[in-house]
Symmetry: D2
Subunit: 342 residues, 4 copies
């Protein structure tokens, strides 16, 4: 039995209902590459949540989803404005630049969130051919710092963007956690808030594999199927990703999972705060950022592997997951307490 820890929500496994759904569709032959009935049904589920007129593409992973979003909506001479902490900036080894050709413009933030104020200084040089033409603003919901944009904050960004002819991409690797935190349906803080394209993640919330890219204006995505294929993101036995999304939406599995992991983060926050640990970001979803002494961090990692976040500040990141149990937190905090008191 592998131990549960707080390194990342992608260190967790597959929710049993997801695996069961894979098993359920595992009979006989179906047309490959998405021509099967399960995929059609899974797309209908997305339409139930996001409305009609959308265009949905399943891909393998979050980087694949972000790259498909950007490459479909931007030319290589465009730029993408995002927070310095964005996954596309710091954690994709330059995949967006290589695959789309675009310039990525990182913006310093305090909490992983862009705002019109932070964006505006980068909205210049339009029609000046020397300058990468701004075309996409990319925000993450939940952010990579575990924070959440309110609907109004999102609208302020999309209104600014559209006024300048830009699109807004949302990296929703943890979008279920955001929906729970906001207590809002997906549509309210994406399509209805002016988002143009969404990377909809499932893997970090109990799925085995698979993400979706959702274009909210299907006039803009006619090329997406070719771009997905040319980006090596088209899955042959597609029904097995589709089956996961079916289970994910049925019986609100996404909701149960995200509710639980958000709650676990709250408990973790409280427990470590009681130990006198400084928390550096608002705990709004399933991440806790904390300052701890390097030596203690190192000792703690021997038992519970996790990632340092900002070594210059002795900041670390702890993530909870759909399968995190209260006793996991209990044991983790006890260990931490012991180390602190040693």
């Amino acid at each position: 039995m592998n131990k549960r820890g707080f390194a990342s929500d992608n260190n967790s496994g597959i929710h049993p209902e997801i695996l069961e759904s894979i098993q359920n569709v595992n009979n006989g032959h179906t047309i490959g590459y998405g021509g099967d009935p399960y995929t059609a049904n899974a797309i209908k589920k997305f339409e139930e949540h996001f409305g009609n007129g959308i265009d949905v593409y399943f891909v393998f992973n979050g980087t694949g989803a972000n790259v498909l979003s950007i490459t479909t909506l931007a030319h290589s001479f465009n730029s993408v404005i995002c927070p310095q902490t964005a996954h596309i900036m710091t954690d994709e080894c330059g995949a967006p630049e290589k695959l789309s050709g675009c310039k990525i413009i990182p913006v310093e933030t305090t909490n992983g969130k862009l705002s019109p104020e932070l964006i505006k200084p980068h909205l210049h040089g339009f029609e000046f051919e020397h300058h990468s033409q701004p075309k996409i603003i990319s925000i993450s919901q939940v952010t990579e710092l575990g924070t959440i944009y309110s609907i109004d904050e999102i609208k302020a960004i999309t209104e600014l963007a559209h006024q300048y002819g830009l699109f807004v991409h949302m990296d929703g690797a943890r979008i279920a956690n955001a929906a729970i935190a906001l207590d809002q349906p997906f549509k309210a803080f994406t399509r209805d808030a002016g988002i143009d394209v969404l990377s909809f993640g499932g893997t970090k919330n109990g799925m085995m594999i698979g993400e979706a890219v959702i274009f909210f204006n299907n006039q803009l995505s006619q090329n997406a199927k070719y771009i997905r294929k040319q980006s090596a993101q088209l899955y042959s036995k597609m029904r097995f990703v589709s089956a996961q999304f079916l289970a994910y939406f049925e019986n609100d599995l996404w909701k149960r999972n995200a509710t639980h992991s958000n709650q676990m983060a709250k408990i973790l926050e409280e427990k470590v705060a009681l130990l006198g640990i400084e928390i550096t970001q608002k705990v709004e979803a399933n991440a806790v950022f904390a300052i701890i002494d390097d030596k203690i961090s190192e000792q703690l990692q021997q038992e519970y592997f996790f990632y340092p976040w900002d070594e210059s500040k002795h900041e670390v990141r702890w993530m909870t997951s759909f399968d995190t149990q209260p006793e996991d937190i209990e044991r983790f905090c006890k260990k931490l307490e012991t180390l602190l008191n040693a």
Copy 2:
């Protein structure tokens, strides 16, 4: 219950032992991106088959594997010589060109197989900077026409290639079927025959998802891990691909599956030949290429979807799979017979 047909070996599902293995590793947390013990074990399985000193990278799909192979061993100013029928030429929507920057040089063949004779005219222009520098020869084993290279044929190609400083890539999307057809271990017709890098496919032979790229000289693949990540081919919950490879090698699942599907193709070939159907390629693995009247093809496809191959020649392709049953062939041929006699 979905019907089984002959459209493609990727229209089949997941072998139960594969799914069981996924389930077996589905407990607790493990480090993501391949830092888990199952991945280490899966790589050991590859070493058992291919020897030590290799470098193995798991990716999502065949296009991803081919692109990682090419991009790791070639510069953008290189060219890749392959048969006109190669998957990298005809079925990847230009992914190799886009992701590696290389020129792909297609060579006409009669049976999907390159030979020194066919390759030599393209080995020129070395050090002439106007000319894409030849660097990789790519062959598919099994070929896209269902034919098989003998070990001697492969050696003739790799010897020529190495003499000119080129690498040889093998697209082994159906490598298990080739091993059965040749009655040889994988190593005999890959590493021992001079192949430099191999796309090792599993999905078409009963796995759910996942391919491996194997570099036989690990001095040449130091950059592969970055290229995999930048190509959006690095899987977070890697243990679930690794678990599949574990099951695939344990108890020789790969061998049982490929033996079966090759046998089914032989039976299919015999049955349709008895109906007077012209077979256009040697049936050496799990594909049958045949000439049939367009009208009959159309009617047959209403019940059994399959792909036309060369419409100008009324040629179609039928693939058998690990789960093809003799009664599937029986019913298919009966239907065909009825149509022919109508």
Copy 3:
């Protein structure tokens, strides 16, 4: 004093009227990157020849022109169909693939010329995402084998292309020689014949540096200015290319130069034919392709450097230029005769 030979029309220098024009605009300051009045005037010259509603971009060289043409009109998931002998296929070190991401599909020809018959087999797979989507047919006028398309031959190609929704690109590196050979204005065999985008070359016909890309439908080229810049093809002191085009069109310099070099090729053809040399392609512009014994070729090259064309056939290429003189041909043939008789 450098000797004149027959290696290539780009081995020649600058026509004096071109240099004079550079000198004439060399005073004071003008806005860079094409914002100067000379560039505006040069574009007017193009409009005089090609009509209104065109969009003209100056670039540095022929490869730059071809790449700008392709990248502006195609997506990375498209393919470009061209003769096997096309410059974009054989002489640009993969620049089109790298910069556009497109697949280049080479077609065997006997004389460097495509035809509807040769193109049709490649017009398939539309909307099938696995297949690079055909989007551009590229023909060279003059071809790389020194042959010429008639207007009707061009129209047959453009009609087929447009019927399938493809664009036709003309690589006009030697377009002036073609206009002379056809005895037609540029427009007659480009815009009026259905060509969509033209790489208009000047360097091989007496200019110092600079080519133009002309889009005949300026609705399709809105992005070209950004693509030119991002391709590193935007010249800061643009007036000095524009001045060359001004001189090139004034007093019909282009016509005088091309008429002369075509005539010189005719004389060369006659002279070497008299020596019993086999000519392998129709001499329609300024190139002579001939079969000569390897040993004689080698000896001749010691005095007159030139390029072997197809070594397997002992075929060589001789080019005449705007500055080739009858006595150059005389001396060359005398030398050849001496070697043949030795």
Copy 4:
């Protein structure tokens, strides 16, 4: 006669000695693409200045030079660290990203200059495949803000870089102005200070066209000739760029031109300072950055076009050139004075 202004040093024309040199080599035929004797001689000139064992490539423009430098020394999964104000960051429309695939990491500075302190926070994530691997530090000498690195400042950067296995690229678009400002030979603040690759500009200091890329370790540049060709930066009639470099180095034309333009900037600085204008950057080469009222700027631009630099601060840039005359400054300042007093 075109008027001289202060918009950019690339708004100036060609120094007469440069044009004369082009004319001098304009006779007969020479082998194209750099196989001519003038190119060999021009490279020798570079060796006189930079020492032996270097590798020199001529390209068309500064963007081409920067892209060749980066693409030769970095893989697509690498990153390039540069000041926020770097030309490669702000003025090349994303050419570095598109052509090299690399991530460009901009660093805020006060004066356009990097320092070890500013660089260090970006030197992390080594061998972590999720992170673009830092490989190149790019500095501009003169910087885009007209400031100059001292030799010690450069050494501090190259020592840090080499300690971490990174290369240092210098964008020397105005390198002659830097040499004059430092009163040092080129080699002292490039090769001897640890620079690995240099974009050596001539166009902004009196040449017509052409830049050079100099690799100081020719073991690292074996691929550069293919990359230059594939980047569409290989000039056919190369002798005409080489001739310019010959003239540029003979009789110290580079030195005379740069000395003059630096002096003119000093005079301009003094004159506008006397008018009470705030100067925002040290005037060390041929640029003057100043704050002026938007309305006055607008009126002044009607007569003397120039570029706003940072509109939020009402900052503008004035450049002097090799052909700037004291009376140009006189007239410009008089006009400015009139506007200020209006």
